[in-house]
Symmetry: C2
Subunit: 713 residues, 2 copies
Amino acid sequence: MERAAPGSGLQALFSPRVIAVVGASRRPGSIGAALLANIRDGGYTGRLFAVHPDAAAMGGVPVYRSVAAVPARVDLALIVTPAAAVEATVRDCAGAGVRGVVVISAGFAEVSPEGAAAQARIRDLARAAGMRMVGPNCMGLVNTDPAVRLFATFAPVSARPGNVGVLSQSGALGAAVLDHAHALGLGISTFVSVGNKADVSGNDLLAWWKDDPRTEVIALYLESFGNPRRFARLAPEVARRKPIVAVKSGRSAAGTRAAASHSAALACVDVGVDALFEQAGVIRTDTLEDLFDVVALLSTQPAPHGRGVGIVTNAGGPGILLADACEAHGLTVPVLDASLSDELRRFLPEQAAVRNPVDMIVSATGADYARAIDAVGRDPSVDAVVAVYVPPLVTGAEEVAAGIAAGAAAVAAHKPVLTVFLSSRGTPAALAAGGRGRLPSFSFPENAARALAAAASYARWRDRPPGRAMALRPDALARVRGVIADALGGSDGKQWLSADAVETVLAAAGIRTAPSRVVPPETAPEAAAEMGFPVVVKGLAAGLVHRSDIGAVILGLSTTQEVVAAVSALRSRLAAAGMRLDEVLVQRQVEGGVEAMVGVVSDPDLGPLVVAGVGGREVELMRDVSFRLAPVTDLDAAEMIDRLRMRPLLEGYRSSPPADRAALVELVERVSALADAAPEIRELDLNPVKVLAAGEGVTVVDARILAATFATA
Amino acid sequence: MERAAPGSGLQALFSPRVIAVVGASRRPGSIGAALLANIRDGGYTGRLFAVHPDAAAMGGVPVYRSVAAVPARVDLALIVTPAAAVEATVRDCAGAGVRGVVVISAGFAEVSPEGAAAQARIRDLARAAGMRMVGPNCMGLVNTDPAVRLFATFAPVSARPGNVGVLSQSGALGAAVLDHAHALGLGISTFVSVGNKADVSGNDLLAWWKDDPRTEVIALYLESFGNPRRFARLAPEVARRKPIVAVKSGRSAAGTRAAASHSAALACVDVGVDALFEQAGVIRTDTLEDLFDVVALLSTQPAPHGRGVGIVTNAGGPGILLADACEAHGLTVPVLDASLSDELRRFLPEQAAVRNPVDMIVSATGADYARAIDAVGRDPSVDAVVAVYVPPLVTGAEEVAAGIAAGAAAVAAHKPVLTVFLSSRGTPAALAAGGRGRLPSFSFPENAARALAAAASYARWRDRPPGRAMALRPDALARVRGVIADALGGSDGKQWLSADAVETVLAAAGIRTAPSRVVPPETAPEAAAEMGFPVVVKGLAAGLVHRSDIGAVILGLSTTQEVVAAVSALRSRLAAAGMRLDEVLVQRQVEGGVEAMVGVVSDPDLGPLVVAGVGGREVELMRDVSFRLAPVTDLDAAEMIDRLRMRPLLEGYRSSPPADRAALVELVERVSALADAAPEIRELDLNPVKVLAAGEGVTVVDARILAATFATA
């Protein structure tokens, strides 16, 4: 079955003129009854029908015995029948020319292989009829558009109209999200509980929201990706226009176990998911609360164009906590320009602090807030302003809120203004009354800092050019595939490539390895002499991968005699490990340089994941690595290296000369190009890589590649 | 002036029978008027008077012209006069036999040196009269004891009686904390806004709360320590009985700047504060919200005795988020015992997950919760149970809460039970109605996980024996001090000790360094030959500290000729750096071993901070270090090493043999003993330290010590 173009056909789901609820029920507390009541009571503007064998009106809604019997062309059918009846119902819908279905009924892929087969059948039925389908195993959908007002969920959700599109892969959590958003005053454009995603996927919804004029921020709760590679292409296009904020669960072993039993989710390696989101410009939050905080910020304010935060407060303590949290999350709290401090000093009391945080002390009035916010907002090093208020006496909150709103209106439109009201009485209405509209209000200073930091990272991504990824030339690619095909010998298995094959593959990708030769053990001394000392010798044997673990790498050999002794040592060390020394790799020893590593791990779902980090044996302990999904652009590769703690080593640490950072970045690009072009490469490990002095490039000292037959999906 | 014993005399502050408000005012909105009204309206059970020059009743409270004129012995005077009048008022109080004063008035040490002098005078007046004093520059105090009911703050705080003692160094933040605690349903025993802490300090309050039967949990908001060393001794004594939860602000540069201008706070290095809290068993939270979450947990539940969490939920999504958050914070979500899974299977529907998280799906009733919580709580690998509830339909929350309460009552008393109610409708009252009393309820799954992880770490600290710290023998100490005194030559300055002096100091502490001799450059080859090859030579020159940065360390010399060449190289490298080669240190080269470092930095307020980590030149980049304040016990030293990412290197990483971890731990203890006994040591740096194979000990390869005259405080 062909898939529809992303996002097409969703109009019938979101804005139907005629709805039929199939499997509606009069039984109070039943899902069918709740669904029907919610649609009716939500003020749906179209025509609503129920379908039930026992045709009699239900709560004022006309009932018919079948979808075909409904005396109007049904745009959307909401199905809440038992699982066993769903297939027949979908067939009826197809026959009646229905344009979209939402299958709320559970009992499909989430319970058994038989359920999965039934799910595939109803999906195929729907697609063959040109119907889009949400679910099965979902909670429904919501569209707050006043022209539609569709509350098609069985949970009693409240949602006010607004600019946030919400997707939830967990129905119950989705209901809780809408409930909390409502309590926070966040408005929703559309909400979809996607359930098992048999047809309508997260990608479809992203594509829809991209062009939906009512949606300005997208919030996702995900447990799995259906098609992460499509997500990787689509999400950045959307994120350049509208921020996407996501919680992806199933990070931990226990969480993955739970997610697997919950929704048969794919277990993408979490570091790959992080890379996916980061490259796509998706704001991933650690917690559900952070999701709300970031959405609250970005649904009313622009993302800040830099990391400088101006703080205006009437109490020292929360100002300090906010400053701490800002710096902990990579924001800065710059000292204000002296002229602005002077300006503040002129109207604030002597005990006030006027450098930033601006602590106006307990006596601050609304007018003080207005003037201080205006002044702080004018500082060129301030990219965002946060106003903090602690009620010192019972009066004043409304007046202060009005002052904050007035001050915010004076701040340049591209700088966000946030508030922290440390009060259980909540946020005064006056906060929304200024020329800037609703200002986001956070319960704790740290929440404002976290949200702002996430928004600043997003803005930096959005404002950055996309960069260019390197590609392998066709002839080089042909050479790589040829070598791998030879190594696999037509088998279906996995295979570590031989030292020669590795060398050929790397050379095809323009990656330089230390000069070396593979020779029979007895000719190693002679080969070393020809190559020039000092040399390294490595023992080669079938099945030997981690050579250094058994002492099969011997460095620093300066004479023929030393090589003879080393080969003898290799022979006995391999014998001790139960292996036979087949051949010896003699390699010119690379002197100096900073040790790095570059590698690839191919995730079955996400594709090749490129890693770069410090090299040597301790790489796994130090965890000083960055990950990106291939293809890695030049800018991404540079960022990978810039983020390493080891970065100063490359820049000339203490007395060392600067190393060839640019060559290491280029190596990452070449590895990415190789992995992207040759999906047969399941693992690639260049470790160590010697990063030589600036201008002298990098040399790969040891390399291994695991290849496997690539089955085109 | 002598200080009172910790915590003594606070009875008059918390439980006065007669109060006078000095500087009370009729002006609405004034601090004096608000204070008087709050005490009166809070239902204070004692006798309340006001003192004002214009003696007439204020709002039903009798007014007198002076404290002396009040017709009863005043236990507590609350002073809200202008700063200039405070000194005279305190003198009047002393004359009238008042037992405690709370100086709310601001304008003292926080504004100017003159203010600091005035503050010192009123403190001395109070101490001379045997009065305890809170403030100045504070918001007052609260005692919810029904026998007292004292709401002596000018902010309109609400607080219900409970078991949490609260200290805030920021008055406004303190009011916000009480407000939020009230909204969360948390009960307070006593609250103190400590202001400038001229007399009554955080340490005094800890000592008081330690023995206060109404207080079971202590919550602190701190911006500075008055006497961190006293805190370090006192806090663990308190924490063994009652959990202490603290937010300490001023972590960042901007935060410290703000704190300094706010309360003239000391800028302790934050890593030292972390060490202080950790060693003292104080639970430091990152955010204000976490403080509430931990207090909410520990004010009703025991701290868990292990890290295993059992999760019972009616929705998959939040269960997965909770499992993820548990593992992210070092907790585990163990698979349940098969017999318990079977038991769950017998009453839960087929689609339920029964391994942990236990997902009972949307149909779960209160009875299901009760049975599942009981079963999960019986698993020996479960140390805490979290019940998660998402309202699937409008009905049921009360019934589910009752079920949870019933299930919780069946769980062993030493295992905490928490709840997460993902609902803006808040927590049903039935949650408090079970045999276990009030169960804490969190808004988001991640908050429950963070609080539980903090409580588990606290329990591990509390259940651990305190350990023993090593001490220097008196003769060794005398030798150390003698060497340092000689080096300083009676001067007041700081001085890097000579190589010989360093060696003597380390030897006195039982620390072994690599065999070495300091010789004139020309005799270095001869010294090397006597010592035995291979050797290292190091150039010594006045003012040279970071030797390796200028190439003044040359390793791996195997012959006399190589030493001659090396000395010549040292001479020219030092010359290039503008120094003269005075002497050469010839050292036997230590082969093999894992590189580590151990050091000391002396904080002027916290005392010596001991650090251990990976060694070598990259130590600053890798940031793989642990800190503890001296004295470091044997258990603390072992923990320092266990926490390093490098730890597997010591245990035999890949093909390496295990290293002498025990000897490294002992080295940390010896360094701590040295630093603790000789406060003249301002910095000490053993880097690298070679940790040899198990049983062969550690050898210090390079060492430097900065000493300075120690002025007894």
